[in-house]
């Protein structure tokens, strides 16, 4: 071995920062595993990760935690202070890897004598730089997709002509296929090429292999040159759809042994030749008519796929990779499941897993819904079964978009099925279902989609079963064998009920119970199986479980001792529910375990720490539907169930579980219902004399107009049935209201619309708290930087609040106390308030942990979930003596947006949430905390030129101060028409630039963005509707597409500008979390 193994004393781990499309929770899982591996060796650990909601940034996981941006500048400053002797680059996604490569190239690692653990940086660069990569693989006769690296659009076009269209272009060094896409012709190439060049100085043009299979291998290599492939995976969708956008199964299903071994051998050959030490992902394109292949890419780091492979097999890749980085051989490590056999082996799977992406494209105005070579999904689920049908139907329910499986869903309206099959969107799997129903054959669908016939045939099996059940109209008439057959194919009780009863299914809950009771009477119940890495060959005391109908025997002996406490997890990451609920779930599990109870987790998100089987006593990697949760409860016979730490999915089960006499720990289902039900909650507030924005549930346009007359515009409109686009909208006048209701929603007796008064320029305030028997024990009040109107998940949040009246705080405390008492709250809860002057109004109340629980827990340094869990379990608790008024520092939670990946989406904030992640940073004052957090979500302090188009009169006025400061600091201001006029009138020099609609005049705003002459864009939309004028849209979109920082909210712009004008980046203090006392 070339690399000498050092005895490390202190190791630095780079995290991946905020969750974003292409880089999500999987890196919390990998990083946490790596830190655990270091800890086991007694090595001190330092973590840099501004993502405060992660498990890895919790107390005790790393010795020192820095909530700072993962950028070369900040990492160097931490290195300077901490002096680690080793660094881990492979556990924080592309962010950490790029940062590490940059530190290596600039000589920082050498300067401080820091050794990179695991794969050497040169090997990383060999895999990242396309040209080096192809050369490297040529040396060992491994075929790659030949691409031509170019630095201009002109050269890209020349290369494409030589290769022949269609071609794919990619930006070098970009995460998750950012800035890549297919081009069928020159025109498309010019558009995409230009964009790709804005992300990277180099773009790659290659021949498209659309329609080939896409296969992945996860390979581990140690310093003794021993290699294993832990898992192989096959994409259901053919090449052309990014693997993050594809349904993926493990192991491969349509490959023969000879094909698998060929690719396996190639993967190992590559890994050996490149010199990986640790974990590596190899992606292949594989011909459908021969054993021809191409290597697509190699990721010399832990990845989304490796997290999936770990969860799919039970093999802890990140943990093992970290140990290998320390110099261990695979043979020297144990299999974490069997604990007796070595880690040098390849898992034998005796089930199939199916990963399905979760998209939230409906949240974005104007977004391109077609799937392609760039990733747009925000989360994923993994379903486990013993037939493909079972796994995929489970998975389609898990993605949580109102679907019940492959069949028996709400009818989709698809005008052109051929087109929808050929140009796939996020709905593609349901289009296949519909196509089958309309008589398309497996072959026809194969021709249009290029999905392997095997998968399609299996899907068709589901259709056949559905049609057979549909010949019955009474649940009692369905023959036992057919019922069992359907369950083996993953049909839910709901699907069976709907197939039988069709439109006669009036009471859903009753119908489900009828199916459930009938099949239980027939002995048709699921069995529990273990994931043991060795297909039952060796005994394993594994607690990693799933349920299936394809079996006759449970792998687990249930004691029925009532010592289990089930914690329901949060499901797929999505916009609005993400890693923060994983943190809550993990902390609830830890508390349950610490108190000597058996902690049981139900969750199905492979990107989480809560689905790490080390985190609990029993992990059911399965659905969070009423049906499945009841199945598990009937097996576990638990002491109780906690459903207030996993977000809205578990919370929604409260009433139905309660009806089955399930012991819900904490606040009762009755009270949860009183908070969730708008009418009940509202009348309770009225009784308590607590103010709320006026609202009404209405069923006709006339009624809506009457209500608007009463409260005045703007109003917030929430339809109960959404046709397309966002579910909520703010309307400022009659025409907007009509347009929204006509285009986006249906108003009728069946589909009422909730209209609320919208209070402008009000502050939004959150209260996160824990109560016991209606008494508040612990609370955190935080304020939004933005005025109400920006979704609380997108808002920048300050804790403790710095600009609230004491009077307001006192009122909020009082109101919260009244609500806690009235709802007999025992456990976590969150209330959102509006405050204007000193009047406060309650917007909503959730009797569960909220998104900001990890943030306030970590800033205040009191674990809200631990306390809440103790309360829910009836354990003695003490009211913490400390509160937020004692803090000498400020926390800022800022949101991360992924607009750059969502082509054409309008990057504007509104009442519907759009951010994919967040960071939380701590500073001595607001400015420092704002600056740290904004830099952490990708903003840069502008160098000299700033473009302002600052919306309506109020917003213009609100930003006047900031504009003056910028001017005084020597920034050059550029402004569009009205803003320019306003600045001039107020004596602030600015250069006038023209809107896209004034195309013939110079200088053009778009041209300046295109030429990268602008360092920051502040573009405030004039009104609150999402359909802004196309001028503003074009400027915002251009800023995103050319990777120029953009702010669309006046209050946030003001805060950011004041922050970077009042202090420079090098004045930012490098303080670890524990230094804030």
């Amino acid at each position: 071995m070339a690399q000498e193994i050092r005895k490390f004393k202190k190791v630095l781990l780079l995290g991946s920062g905020a969750l974003k499309i292409g880089e999500a929770g999987e890196f919390d899982y990998s990083g946490s595993q790596a830190l655990k591996a270091m800890k086991e060796e007694g090595i001190a650990t330092v973590l840099i990760n501004p993502n405060i909601a992660t498990v890895q940034t919790s107390e005790g996981v790393a010795d020192k935690i820095y909530f700072l941006p993962v950028t070369p500048y900040f990492v160097e400053r931490v290195i300077e202070k901490e002096r680690p002797d080793g660094i881990l680059l492979a556990f924080g996604g592309q962010t950490a890897l790029n940062c590490g490569v940059s530190l290596y190239e600039s000589g920082v690692l050498a300067k401080y004598d820091i050794q990179v653990l695991g794969t050497p940086v040169q090997a990383i660069m060999d895999t990242e730089d396309r040209e080096l990569f192809v050369k490297k693989l040529d040396e060992i006769d491994v075929k790659t997709i030949k691409s031509v690296a170019v630095n201009s659009v002109e050269d890209a076009h020349k290369a494409a002509q030589e290769l022949g269209y269609p071609v794919i272009i990619r930006a070098a060094y970009a995460l998750g296929g950012l800035g890549s896409g297919f081009c069928d012709n020159e025109e498309q190439l010019r558009v995409l090429g230009e964009k790709a060049l804005s992300f990277s100085p180099q773009i790659l043009v290659e021949k498209s292999l659309k329609g080939w299979k896409e296969i992945e291998y996860e390979v581990v290599r140690d310093r003794y040159d021993n290699c294993i492939t832990v898992c192989n995976m096959e994409n259901f969708d053919p090449l052309g759809i990014h693997t993050g956008e594809s349904i993926v199964v493990a192991p491969t299903q349509t490959l023969t042994n000879s094909e698998c071994q060929k690719l396996r051998e190639l993967a190992i050959r590559i890994v050996r030749h490149v010199g990986i030490v640790g974990e590596c992902n190899v992606q292949f394109a594989f011909d459908t008519d021969s054993e021809d292949y191409r290597v697509i890419e190699v990721n010399a780091r832990l990845s989304r796929s490796s997290a999936l492979a770990s969860k799919a097999t039970g093999y802890p890749l990140a943990f093992v990779a970290a140990k290998i980085g320390l110099g261990y051989g695979l043979a020297e490590l144990k299999n974490s499941v069997t604990k007796t056999t070595p880690a040098f082996f390849e898992p034998a799977i005796d089930y199939i897993v199916c990963k399905i992406p979760r998209w939230d494209l409906g949240k974005f105005q104007g977004v391109d819904r077609e799937l392609g070579s760039s990733m747009k999904s925000v989360g994923e689920v993994m379903a486990i079964g013993r037939t493909f049908e079972e796994a995929i139907q489970k998975g389609l329910r898990m993605i949580g978009q109102g679907m019940h499986g492959f069949v028996e869903n709400k009818e989709l309206v698809i005008p052109d099925i051929d087109k929808a099959l050929n140009a796939p969107t996020d709905k593609r799997i349901f289009v296949i279902s519909k196509a089958f129903r309309q008589g398309y054959t497996v072959d026809q669908i194969h021709q249009l989609t290029k999905i392997d016939r095997w998968f399609l045939q299996r899907l068709y099996n589901i259709i056949e079963t559905a049609e057979e059940i549909e010949t019955y109209s009474n649940i009692a008439d369905v023959p036992a064998e057919l019922l069992h057959h359907a369950k083996k194919q993953g049909f839910s009780d709901f699907q069976i009920a709907r197939a039988c009863l069709k439109e006669n299914m009036v009471n859903v809950d009753e119908a489900l119970i009828e199916v459930r009771n009938r099949r239980k009477a027939l002995g048709i119940v699921p069995v529990v199986k273990q994931i043991d890495t060795l297909a039952a060959e060796y005994p394993a005391q594994t607690n990693y479980l799933y349920l299936t109908y394809n079996g006759v025997e449970n792998d687990v002996d249930y004691q029925g001792d009532k010592r289990s406490v089930i914690v329901l997890g949060s499901g797929a990451y999505r916009i609005g529910s993400s890693v923060e609920f994983d943190w809550c779930s993990v902390n609830a599990l830890t508390t349950v375990r610490k108190e000597g109870w058996r902690s049981v987790m139900i969750n199905y998100n492979p990107e989480t720490v809560s689905t790490d089987y080390d985190m609990c006593d029993r992990l059911y990697f399965d659905e969070l539907t009423f049906e499945r949760v009841m199945d598990i409860i009937e097996l576990e016979n638990p002491h109780g169930v906690i459903l207030s730490v996993g977000g809205q999915i578990p919370n929604n089960l409260a009433t139905r579980l309660d009806a089955q006499k399930v012991n819900i720990l904490g606040t009762s289902a009755y009270d949860i219902d009183h908070a969730e039900d708008r009418h009940k909650f509202s009348s309770m507030l009225d009784e308590l004399g607590i103010d709320q924005p006026r609202w009404r549930e209405l069923t006709s346009l006339d009624d809506i107009y009457d209500f608007v007359d009463e409260v005045g515009y703007p109003v917030l409109v929430r339809p109960s049935y959404v046709l397309s686009g966002a579910a909520m909208n703010v309307c400022s006048n009659n025409s907007e209201l009509e347009m929204f209701l006509k285009l986006a929603a249906n108003v009728s007796k069946q589909h009422p619309v909730v209209v609320s008064e919208f209070i402008q320029n009000a502050k939004e305030i959150e209260m996160d708290a824990v109560a016991r028997d209606g008494e508040v024990l612990l609370y955190a009040i935080s304020e939004h930087i933005e005025f109400a109107g920006v979704h609380s998940g997108d808002a920048t949040i300050q804790f403790p609040p710095q600009k609230l009246y004491v009077e307001t705080m006192r009122r909020i405390k009082k109101v919260a106390g009244q609500i806690a008492k009235a709802l007999h709250i025992s456990g976590p809860f969150n209330i959102q308030f509006l405050a204007k002057n000193n009047d406060i109004k309650v917007i909503e109340c959730n009797l569960r942990a909220s998104r900001s629980f990890p943030f306030v827990s970590k800033v205040l340094k009191i674990n809200f979930i631990e306390l809440a869990t103790r309360v829910m379990m009836g354990l003695p608790v003490e009211k913490p003596a400390k509160n937020e008024f004692d803090l000498d520092y400020v926390g800022i939670k800022a949101s991360q947006f992924s607009f750059s990946r969502l082509q054409k989406a309008d990057p504007v904030l509104g009442v519907d949430m759009a951010s994919t992640g967040e960071v939380g940073c701590i500073g001595d004052d607001t400015s420092e905390a704002v600056l740290k957090s904004m830099l952490s979500v990708g903003y840069r302090v502008p160098e000299k030129n700033i473009l302002l188009s600052t919306g309506g009169a109020k917003q213009k006025a609100a930003l006047l101060d900031a504009a003056r400061t910028l001017h005084e600091k020597g920034y050059n201001l550029y402004a569009t028409g009205g803003s320019h006029q306003f600045l001039n009138d107020n004596g602030i020099p600015a250069v006038k630039v023209y809107w896209p609609s004034e195309g013939d005049k110079e200088p053009q705003a778009l041209q300046m963005l295109h030429d990268k002459q602008i360092d920051l864009v502040v573009n405030i939309p004039k009104n609150l509707t999402a359909t802004e004028l196309s001028n503003g849209y074009k400027i915002r979109r251009a800023a995103i597409d050319f990777n120029i920082p953009l702010i669309t909210n006046a209050r946030l712009a003001d805060a950011f500008i004041h922050a970077f004008c009042s202090m420079s980046v090098d004045e930012i203090q490098i303080k670890s979390w524990d230094e804030y006392k």
Partner: protein
């Protein structure tokens, strides 16, 4: 839903698993063993080492890519490991009635029916595997609805090697070197691996006296059943060792028989090693292989003569995985360096052997 005949697997301890028939409708008996590989059913079914066994696949979904055509080129099968299926029955969880693969010729069911081999599915193969793991490999029978019942028989006393071996001498290739291959039930890929390395092969029956043949090395193949029933082969190997010191290489049964010739004893494992993921270490080194295995017996290392040493060890249960002579070019592997099916990591052992010739 398809209407299919019901079928029962009845183990010798009386345990019953119920499923459905998808192969040839015939009741059949045999030793029930499990294989944890996730691919490679055409290779496994034609592997002579499975002769007479009722083979359980722990991977639940089988038949996905159909079965390739049985093409023989120069007396070697192109895609199979021998000319026909050797298992007595296939036991799986979820059968793929439709397959999808460019190289497929028929469904697994069609193949089983052509070869008159029983196949059942809808069995909880994990529960069955756990049962075999706990209780040990055991005999059993499959009874198909409407078919004549059969008796459970103990195959341990049956000389399966004699049944699986070729009946006459066959020659392959015209290489630089010549190897005599004692066929105990050889997988075709062993022959292919030698031919690829420019070695010609004289394949002889298991009990054939090859001493009159002019050769550069001796190869003892894999094969089914109990090594104790192959005394004639062991005797031939003993004679060879006494006569000359030409290189010898054994695989699987070959390892047993070489060990027996070296004076060692073999014993039956509780449930054997069958799969693609068996970790093996070369003794005294850090060199490790992921190997394909298929054996129910093992060499008792403690009984090896003083001239011999263990060469490989199984990293899961520390059983013997190969032996070597301390001074002569004799070596053997319990695992399958020819793979097929399974990982090809250990194919380098053929290179090592050919270098010795």
């Amino acid at each position: 839903m398809r209407t299919l005949k019901s079928a029962s697997l009845i183990l010798e301890d009386g345990t019953i698993f119920r499923g459905k028939s998808f192969g040839y409708d015939k009741s059949v008996a045999g030793e029930v063993v499990f294989n944890t590989a996730m691919t490679g059913y055409p290779e496994s079914l034609t592997d002579p080492s499975y002769k007479g066994q009722l083979l359980v696949f722990t991977y639940p979904i089988i038949g996905n890519y159909g079965v390739p055509a049985n093409k023989l080129v120069d007396n070697l099968s192109l895609y199979y490991e021998s000319e026909n299926i050797h298992v007595n029955a296939v036991i799986i969880s979820d059968y793929s009635f439709e397959y999808s693969h460019w190289n497929a010729d028929k469904t697994l069911a069609q193949w089983l029916q052509e070869e008159k081999i029983t196949g059942i599915f809808d069995i909880d193969t994990r529960a069955l595997t756990k049962h075999l793991r706990e209780k040990g490999a055991m005999s059993g029978k499959i009874v198909i609805e409407g078919c004549e019942d059969v008796e459970i028989v103990d195959h341990n006393s049956r000389n399966l090697v004699a049944e699986a071996s070729c009946k006459e001498v066959m020659e392959y290739g015209a290489g630089n070197k010549r190897v005599v291959m004692v066929d105990c039930g050889v997988k075709h890929n062993i022959v292919r691996c030698l031919l690829e390395r420019n070695v010609s092969v004289v394949r002889v029956p298991w009990d054939y006296d090859y001493s009159h043949i002019n050769y550069d090395g001796l190869f003892i193949t894999n094969g089914p059943g109990n090594p104790d029933l192959c005394e004639p082969t062991v005797e031939n190997i003993r004679k060879t060792i006494a006569d000359n010191s030409k290189p010898i290489f054994g695989i699987c049964m070959g390892n047993h028989l070489l060990a027996k010739a070296a004076g060692a004893k073999t014993y039956k494992l509780k449930y054997g090693h069958r799969g693609h993921n068996q970790p093996v270490r070369e003794v005294g080194t850090n060199r490790c292989y992921i190997t394909t295995q298929n054996h129910g017996f093992a060499v008792d290392e403690a009984t090896l003569g003083s001239d011999w040493a263990p060469l490989y060890v199984n990293m899961n249960d520390n059983t013997n995985e190969g032996i070597r002579h301390k001074s002569r070019p004799y070596l053997s592997a319990q695992f399958h360096p020819e793979a097929s099916s399974g990982p090809t990591d250990a194919e380098v052992l053929f290179d090592d052997f050919v270098k010795l010739l």
